[in-house]
């Protein structure tokens, strides 16, 4: 009700908002509805109703193995990016590091360097020169592109925290380590959680880097789906997309229930 009222009060803003929702949601509805179609190709409007394509998607070994590898990659890359990014952020905010802005720029540079360039560089150095497997190259590449999120998002919540809080803990008898774990870290928790969520999703959805570094032994789900769609145009791909969408919704609900979006994204724009 309140939304309708707002739209009435500000007609232009309301129209734009509705338009925005349409642009975002209609393609999703299109994909979801074709996943249940009995037709042999992805087409709209869908014909009939079947769950067969979901069976096909779940039974597709290439999809399932690459899903597992994608999840694994996203999880490990997120953990490593946070393990490097969070302490680095704290050091940059609280410590006296020479060339602080340079270091900060370095951590954020994967945001501006095209991912294909990062991918090519990794291919050259890690796979060709050092002879490492593509899974190592992928892990390094994904970690690199996640670092800006880890640094930026935790940095934003750290910037909001009063440095005197940590000093107060020290004054009351806490060692620097103790003060970090009992005071600083709990204050950063929503920021770290949102950084983790963003990082995970970014890695999981990444195409350019994964595309450049793929090979038969290790490939991610988005690349596999891209490959599939170039060969086939049946609704299996729509079913797989719908499953991913459902999983994302579940994750979002869990995040909302446990921490709350306001708190998670409060880490970014309070």
């Amino acid at each position: 009700m309140s939304m309708i009222k707002t739209n009435n009060a500000r007609p232009v803003l309301g129209t734009l908002a509705v338009l925005g929702y349409i642009i975002m949601i209609v393609p999703i509805l299109f994909v979801v509805s074709t996943a249940f179609s009995t037709g042999r190709t992805v087409s709209f409007p869908p014909k009939g109703f079947t769950l067969d394509w979901f069976g096909a998607a779940l039974g597709n070994n290439t999809f399932m193995s690459s899903l597992g590898q994608s999840l694994q990659l996203a999880l490990i890359a997120t953990v490593i990016a946070l393990a490097i990014g969070v302490p680095a952020t704290i050091a940059m905010h609280r410590g006296k590091i020479p060339g602080k802005s340079l270091v900060q720029g370095l951590f954020l540079s994967p945001l501006v360097v095209p991912e294909l360039v990062v991918g090519l560089a990794l291919y050259q150095q890690i796979m060709v020169v050092l002879g490492q497997s593509n899974s190592i190259a992928l892990l390094i590449g994904h970690t690199a592109i996640l670092l800006p999120y880890a640094v930026r998002v935790t940095g934003a919540s750290l910037a909001l925290a009063d440095p005197a809080i940590e000093e107060a803990a020290r004054g009351l008898g806490a060692s620097p380590l103790r003060a970090f774990f009992t005071v600083t870290l709990p204050l950063l928790r929503p920021g770290i959680f949102s950084a983790a969520l963003l990082s995970f999703v970014t890695s999981f959805n990444n195409v350019p880097l994964s595309l450049l570094l793929q090979d038969r032994s290790f490939r991610t789900l988005p690349v596999t789906m891209l490959d599939y769609i170039q060969q086939n145009y049946d609704p299996t791909i729509a079913a797989m997309s719908t499953l991913l969408l459902a999983a994302t919704v579940v994750v979002a609900i869990i995040a909302e229930r446990t921490v709350g979006f306001a708190k998670i994204f409060g880490g970014i724009n309070k």
Partner: protein
């Protein structure tokens, strides 16, 4: 008796800038000492060095007679109240106050008793289960005070503790802090830029400027006898009159204006009214007066309106009058 704390030749330099310049200062046991001065005078830096949050560039800091210069804050056993209160937002009021006790491994039962005791001392026993966010600024301030007191600190350090409160609450808290100090017998160091606060609360006030101590003493020693022009100005003396015997100062409330030749013993000067403004119970009058050397000095006189002759509504700019700084109110500035 060993002083609670001492600064011995303490300097804090940031590059060429001396935030604190060769400071020698004794903090007496059981007293409330105020570091008073305008911003940038080094008072907060001194407090932070005493607390261990800043390391002196040179000199020594003694706490209870022992060299504490190199000790980190957690080893000093001092209670600090920050200007921003710095409460732990994720902990309840009781857990905030008990934080230091937990670190000291005080058993749970005793901890609870001491938390309650500290909260009751500041009058917040009933809010123990709240989170800091659910408290008003004044209440947060009291929690910060209770948290610092609960660890039974060697010294209680207060960094501009009242500056974030509204005017009425600020005046209330002055008395409150004095009461708590009297009840606990704690040695307190208070940093403030508010001269009224310092005059009202201190046993000893230390006036600072540009990293140096300008004057030290009890309020009733310092106020009637400021050592130099800076201290006098900071304490609200606004009139400075150069004479052959040196520089004299007098407070605006004590500078008298008479339309005829004055007869009160003191310094009598001829002058011209420059302004006259209504201020409730007072009249604020500006005068350009001729000092004994012939120099013209701008003076301000604050007259109680009820002491003016009936029907007197103020002075007119340009009016020639004579001003008198009565002898008992005249302060000779030695520096």
């Amino acid at each position: 008796m060993i002083p609670a704390a001492e600064f011995v030749g303490v300097t804090q330099a940031y590059g060429d800038f001396l935030a604190v310049d060769n400071l020698d200062l004794t903090i007496e046991e059981g007293k409330l000492t105020t570091l008073l001065g305008p911003s940038g005078c080094g008072k907060t830096t001194s407090l932070r060095m005493l607390a261990g949050y800043a390391r002196p560039t040179a000199g020594k800091i003694l706490i209870g007679g022992e060299d504490a210069t190199a000790l980190p804050p957690e080893k000093r056993g001092l209670g600090m109240v920050f200007q921003s209160y710095a409460l732990f937002p994720h902990l309840t009021v009781a857990d905030n106050v008990g934080y230091g006790l937990k670190l000291r491994k005080v058993p749970a039962a005793e901890r609870k008793a001491r938390v309650t005791e500290a909260l009751e001392l500041v009058g917040l026993g009933h809010l123990a289960a709240r989170k800091p966010k659910a408290l008003s600024g004044g209440q947060q301030q009291r929690v910060a005070l209770a948290r610092a007191i609960a660890i039974r600190p060697k010294l209680l350090l207060l960094d501009e503790p009242l500056s974030n409160l509204d005017a009425r609450l600020r005046v209330q808290m002055r008395a409150e802090i004095r009461r708590i100090q009297a009840e606990t017998g704690l040695t307190v160091v208070l940093v403030t830029h508010d001269q009224d606060e310092a005059l009202e609360m201190s046993d000893t006030m230390v006036l600072m400027r540009a990293g140096k101590v300008m004057q030290t003493g009890a309020p009733d020693e310092v106020f009637p006898a400021p050592a130099n022009r800076f201290v006098a100005e900071f304490l609200g003396y606004e009139n400075f009159i150069p004479t052959a015997e040196g520089l004299f100062t007098v407070r605006p409330e004590q500078l008298q204006i008479a339309s005829a030749d004055a007869t009160t013993p003191g310094l009598n000067l001829d002058g011209v009214i420059t302004s006259s403004a209504y201020r409730g119970v007072d009249l604020v009058v500006g005068v350009d007066a001729s000092a004994p050397g012939g120099e013209t000095v701008p003076l301000i006189s604050v007259l109680r309106r009820d002491a003016l002759p009936a029907g007197h509504t103020g002075f007119t700019p340009g009016e020639r009058i004579s001003v008198t700084a009565p002898a008992p109110a005249l302060v000779h500035l030695s520096e």
